[in-house]
Symmetry: C2
């Protein structure tokens, strides 16, 4: 992928994908530009399928918040290519990350991405 060399936050070093910090400006923080809306919609699109929402919940409920593909295919009554496709969509959206261990592939939750998304849905200044 392209290198985002200008970032200086050390936190972002291990964040390979683009979803975590750039994905979702606050929806309620002013009129979004076309690009901002596009980026936000891309992440929401990853959650716009029941199978993917379920996969996400299954990964999140697994030990270590990670699951092997073999477990997921066994639970979901869908073909293995379909499961693999959905996992890729979730990964590309930044909601999951993938790691190979031996000959198995493990998908781990990225709670930061969900947290960023969660905050994007709230008013900018939560007046209370």
């Amino acid at each position: 992928m392209d290198a985002r060399t200008t970032h200086t936050l050390p936190l972002l070093d291990h964040i390979d994908d683009a979803a975590a910090e750039a994905c979702c400006p606050p929806i309620l923080g002013g009129v979004l530009s076309e690009d901002e809306a596009e980026q936000a919609a891309r992440v929401f699109k990853a959650l716009a399928d029941p199978t993917r929402v379920r996969l996400l919940s299954m990964v999140a409920a697994s030990a270590g918040r990670e699951a092997c593909v073999c477990d997921l295919t066994g639970s979901l009554d869908l073909s293995q290519p379909t499961i693999s496709h959905h996992l890729k969509v979730l990964k590309d959206a930044g909601l999951l990350e993938r790691e190979r261990r031996g000959s198995w592939a493990y998908y781990r939750l990225r709670p930061e991405a969900l947290a960023v998304l969660s905050r994007a849905l709230l008013p900018v200044a939560p007046r209370r």
Copy 2:
């Protein structure tokens, strides 16, 4: 003191749609059933389009968190039927509500729905 105090009050009486309280069980609160995932995905699907995300932000940025359709059609370079369609999708998802005033239609934000959705993306019990 009116809306935020408690969630289990007659507040819910005027909530006609199903989206506000029943829509989104916590994604990270255990494996979701097929129906739960279906309901969550339905709301996310409403946000899975850049135009709708933008519309939502425009309504949210308007005075009183409501906007007339005529304003929105003027800003978005899409045909009026298309705008009307997207607003209906957002309304059916429970994110907006519609009110007729004179011959104009106003769409108002439903921040509770967004708040519920926001919370669904966070870990269930932060247990601190």
